[in-house]
């Protein structure tokens, strides 16, 4: 009985969470004539027409590529810089550690809408308008606090004695970082990487402001700009959303195991 209740509530929560996604999937499969009518809830004659429209668009492939390039570069930059900073803050002798960490966090507290205009002016004067570089730089700035915080906590959990042992064994600080600390903090690295990737993949405001053509446009902006002159192509929008969400879901599933894996177990007693 208890088990039945458990699974029942589990299914309810799952349905609640995945509701919008399911709705999106249903919409993307409905022919245009059925889009705004309920019932039927499920498409009577499912169609792949919306998907075909999206894939046939040259610009959409370019935009997918833009998003992938921006998200991947941002993630890499954010992890490289973030892990170096986090290692220093967690293990090396640094003064005012908590002040530095607080200051870093405060960077991410400004609402993007407040910073977007000055940033736009900077980007324009640097001649970076409508380039991927502009987005990568901005996203890295805004995702660094997150990755530094996550990674600092992961590095802190690695026992100091392991760090000291590596030092006695003849490692330079950088060798300790990449031979000992980095492999041990892998779950943290993956966690931070996924969060940063999702953030850059989905970011809308900066992408909308800094880009004007499909040269550097990313997916959220492109989808928002879908609406035509006479109608909103709900079916196409839904299909596009599904297509761009799939990579994210695949990535999370791929790394999930690594995140959960307790790599540090067995380092010290117990």
């Amino acid at each position: 009985m208890k088990k039945v209740f458990f699974y029942l509530s589990l299914i309810l929560v799952l349905l609640y969470c995945s509701g919008p996604v399911l709705w999106q999937i249903i919409t993307s499969l409905k022919p245009d004539s059925e889009l705004t009518i309920i019932p039927p809830l499920l498409p009577l004659r499912p169609t792949a027409a919306h998907y075909l429209t999206i894939i046939k668009q040259q610009a959409f492939l370019k935009i997918m590529f833009n998003s992938a390039a921006v998200a991947t570069s941002t993630t890499m930059l954010s992890i490289v810089i973030g892990s170096l900073a986090a290692f220093g803050l967690a293990k090396l002798r640094v003064r005012y550690k908590s002040f530095i960490l607080g200051f870093i966090l405060s960077v991410s507290m400004f609402p993007p809408i407040a910073t977007v205009s000055p940033l736009y002016i900077i980007i324009r004067s640097l001649g970076l308008r409508d380039t991927l570089t502009a987005l990568i730089i901005t996203y890295t700035t805004f995702s660094l606090p997150l990755s530094i915080w996550i990674l600092t906590n992961f590095f802190r959990e690695i026992p100091d004695e392991i760090y000291l042992a590596a030092k006695v064994d003849g490692c330079s600080p950088f060798q300790i970082f990449h031979r000992i600390m980095l492999p041990l903090a892998l779950p943290g690295i993956f966690t931070a990487a996924i969060l940063v990737f999702i953030f850059s993949w989905n970011e809308f405001l900066f992408a909308l402001t800094f880009t004007s053509t499909s040269a550097a446009r990313t997916i959220p902006v492109a989808i928002a700009l879908f609406p035509g002159m006479h109608e909103i192509p709900w079916g196409d929008i839904a299909a596009a959303s599904i297509i761009v969400t799939v990579p994210l879901i695949l990535m999370v599933f791929a790394f999930q195991k690594r995140i959960i894996e307790g790599l540090t177990s067995g380092a010290i007693k117990g």
Binding site: P159, E161, I162, L164, A165, A166, K167, V168, D169, G170, C171, S172, Q175, I180, P183, L184, L263, T264, S265, G266, A267, I268, K269
Partner: protein, 355 residues
């Protein structure tokens, strides 16, 4: 291999002085132990030797060369940590090989050395395992292997046995001693366990609050503790102390609890008030009265196998002694205690120093 000299080494953490004017010489090839209660500064001393903590004042010398400004790598020391600190993402083989990899030794040489060490420590069949697949004793061996593979100048051990269960601890203790006799590398050992310190070391230094109380061979420290602290800390159960008063200096007569004794002392007592120390195993409790025995009341009775510990009250002072197995002295009964005069140590009651 090398000897270590401390010249007035001090260490402060913020405003707190944790090591005060440490002056010591550890000889080449010696097994030297710092023993003391937690917080006495013994681990800090070890970290200063390793180069993990800078000294606040004074100098540390290896082979008569000041090493204050050298990094752990340049000092060529190896260290075994209390938690073993194995690298969890590496196999046993890689853990042991790690210091050699850092020295850029060739793969063939590493192979040979790792196998030799694994043989020495009985780890041959475990080389492919990860640390988390090992028992506590095996992890301890891997940590030792990682330390000795480099043939360091100095071997540092920070309470390496304290995470093992009692039986394994005694086994590993013998192993450590055997290793030291085989390798003859200068070893500095830190522990709070006085029995471990006694059984392993060539010499021990008893530390309290950052000051060396006594530094000598284990037996000397045990037989002639420099002060009350050492007497209490070294030996288990701790030494008994009874208050006494000096009646006359020549001939020496000390009165304590209505008896008068005349022990042989190195110096003449300066003060009237003294503390008389006697080890529990030197106090014998019997049911029958004998010459020079004192009358006591038995309080507690703890069988220890080949003998029994007896807690008793003598004129209001609580004392621990031993009795033979055959004696029948239940708690609350009256009994008689004797102790040999030559085993008695006398301390100045004010300064706590041995007289």
């Amino acid at each position: 291999m090398s000897g270590i000299i401390f010249r007035d080494v001090t260490k402060n953490f913020k405003k707190v002085e944790v090591v005060k004017k440490l002056g010591l010489a550890i000889e080449d090839g010696e097994f030297f132990t710092f023993v003391g209660p937690s917080g006495c500064g013994k681990s800090t001393i070890l970290n200063m030797i390793a180069g993990l903590e800078p000294v606040t004042g004074g100098e540390i010398l290896f082979d008569n060369k000041v090493v204050n400004d050298l990094s752990p790598r340049e000092r060529d020391v190896a260290m075994v940590f209390q938690s073993y600190a194995l690298y969890p993402h590496m196999s046993v083989y890689e853990n042991i090989a790690f210091p050699l990899r850092m020295k850029k030794v060739s793969q063939e040489e590493i192979d040979g050395e790792v196998l030799r060490i694994a043989e020495l420590l009985g780890l041959r069949d475990l080389l492919k395992r990860r640390p988390k697949e090992l028992s506590g004793g095996q992890r301890q061996r891997v940590a030792l292997g990682r330390a000795i593979i480099r043939k360091p100048k100095v071997f540092l051990m920070d309470e390496p046995l304290s995470n093992l269960d009692a039986r394994l601890r005694i086994e590993m203790r013998a192993e450590l001693k055997r290793l030291h006799q085989e390798l003859k590398i200068t070893t500095v050992y830190v522990t709070h366990d006085q029995a471990e310190a006694m059984s392993l070391s060539g010499r021990i230094a008893v530390l309290n609050e950052g000051v060396v109380q006594q530094c000598d061979v284990p037996n000397e420290v045990y037989r002639k503790p420099a002060n009350v602290f050492v007497g209490e800390f070294i030996g288990s159960p701790p030494m008994n102390f009874v208050k006494g008063k000096v009646l006359s200096a020549k001939p020496l007569k000390i009165q304590s609890n209505e008896i008068t004794i005349s022990p042989l002392l190195d110096h003449m007592p300066e003060e009237r008030d003294v503390l008389i120390g006697i080890r529990p195993e030197d106090v014998r409790i019997t049911a029958e009265r004998s010459d020079n025995s004192i009358e006591v009341t038995v309080q507690l009775f703890e069988p220890a196998g080949s003998f029994d510990w007896v807690d008793f009250i003598w004129n209001g002072t609580k004392i621990k002694g031993i009795s033979g197995m055959e004696t029948d002295i239940p708690a609350g009964s009256r009994a008689f205690g004797t102790f040999p005069l030559d085993k008695v140590v006398v301390f100045d009651a004010v300064s706590g120093k041995r007289i």
